[in-house]
Symmetry: none
């Protein structure tokens, strides 16, 4: 606990970091169990008011903790081949959710969002962004003729993220490299 210094009347960036770090740590350690505001504040060495001053709800803190640190490193590069791109995106998505501390934190976050309407809304935005990124990849493939002109891109996107979340939250089946490839390929085949 290295004695944070005050920054006067402007927001203390160190406090912000301390909060997000603490939140991410607790989120990861909890692995699904609820994370309390008091706990975050105590862990960060911060007054509760500081949380409520800068984030509209507990959920906002948690989401910020996850997105602000775990870079949205899903690439969405354009390799010229739909199969290639799709494999990359799906594999990155699967892998990102397995890594520490993102995985457990993400699980906790989703759990929390079930109770916290504010967080649910934030999550909706978050996932919406991911969805359109993936849709972009598919749209490029369709333009190149790798997919049928009449295929339902939205349904394909939802098949990817549907499988992902379903398995991620229930944990009844793996989310490895192999499954990513299989899923990507089956989508390409299905839409061809």
């Amino acid at each position: 606990m290295n004695e944070r210094v005050h920054t006067g009347r402007r927001r203390n960036e160190e406090a912000r970091r301390a909060v997000l770090d603490a939140a991410l740590r607790l989120l990861a350690d909890a692995d699904g169990a609820p994370v309390g505001v008091d706990a975050i504040a105590r862990e960060a060495g911060v007054g509760k008011q500081t949380l409520y001053r800068w984030w509209p709800s507990k959920g906002a803190v948690l989401l910020d903790a996850l997105t602000g640190r775990a870079e949205q490193d899903v690439p969405a590069r354009d390799s010229g081949s739909l199969r290639e791109d799709l494999r990359a995106v799906v594999a990155a998505t699967f892998a990102g959710a397995q890594a520490e501390p993102v995985g457990p934190a993400l699980r906790t976050l989703v759990r929390e969002s079930a109770r916290d309407p504010h967080l649910a809304e934030l999550m909706r935005e978050f996932t919406g962004a991911r969805r359109s990124a993936l849709r972009e990849v598919l749209a490029r493939g369709r333009e190149r003729g790798e997919l049928a002109a009449d295929c339902d891109l939205d349904l394909m996107v939802d098949q990817v993220y549907g499988v992902f979340w379903y398995r991620f939250l229930l944990g009844h089946a793996p989310l490895g490299e192999e499954e990513a490839v299989r899923l990507a390929d089956s989508l390409v085949r299905q839409g061809g």
Copy 2:
């Protein structure tokens, strides 16, 4: 509230029904918002202890309320054609979740299961049963040669339920007859 009569020292079936009815009603009215134990007990005109005597947790009551009433009417008939069977199952799944009061109740139930480990376990069983029923349909199709011998049935199952839950919970896209057909057909095509 029609003045239930005591049944002495044997379990009062009417009380059980009153609880499940009340739970389902609240579950549906809440449409996602949390449903408390006190609320169920009051709505049912029942003591809280009666709940905990017969159900191990709040979640169990909620799940019982849903499954005990909303018949698991997903058919899983065997028509001889995979495409036919799959369309039927998917469409029934989609339609079942739209109907009142099942839809809103189911949404609430899932939300609750995020916080309640006990309910989560019950939900796991519940969805597990659905999954194996669907897998059965697909396995029959594969035996008939309608799917490639090496295709990943588990992945196909999860594509169906993944899309279903993903759209059902986020509500960003429809879950109608048309989407059901499209999804079923694309899976048959992909696995052929």
Copy 3:
């Protein structure tokens, strides 16, 4: 902490006692410093909700703790002599406020009542009762001719309690037997 047992759907008398005991103990130990609700609850081994269920405010608990235990043992006997009775009442008042744990607790209570309008009202009733008891004594003396017919009994009462509270709270002068006698005698002389 001897494992209190629940008493079912009726108020738990043991819990009530535990709360009042704890409150009195803390009140006395604090000697003027504020006593928190959490502290009382923790000390009593009781949930905070139990406090708010039975007492309308923190102040009500504190006052109850003082009056419910420390018997209002100011005698107000009738000895036939005003001087005698007055000396007794004043001395008892002074002595009562010195004794442990009443003294420190009373000081804390008054302090709290400055912030808590509800408690202030309760204190008003409490002191009002004391005032009328003393007024009774003086009225009897006046009927016996020990006081002038036109003397202001209310003013005399307030001289007693005024001096008492003033010295009790500021602590700038003693409140012993000697002062009690002197005050009583001077009042008799003044009203004669």
Copy 4:
């Protein structure tokens, strides 16, 4: 809010006045209810630090607001007659506490001092000064033989201020000219 001008590195007298004015206004408006530091600062259009730079605590501000404005106009003249002087002092004390805005402000101040040890100490000094002024009057009377040589002056002083504070804070009886005269006379008679 007439745009105060900076005075550079010397204390800004206007700011001081603004604080005291604001404090007195809030103190009077509150009539017993707590007055917060933030409220004073906002009302005065002043930073909180400016308060803590010049006053050691909130209480000091409040007391200063009261004493710095409401002149200590209790006369303590020497008319040659104890009865006369005493009547004057007591009546002035009573009247001073009734006037706006001193009365309500004083009430709030005492309430605050119950929670604020620093303010309590300041109040002790404040009342101590009043006490010795009154004691002076009585001592002069005793030297002139208007009081018995062995009478307890401190007790007499406390009877005056005791009655005053008791009635002022509880408000159960009036503090008018008539009561002042009666109290003063009874003390002279009692000590004669």
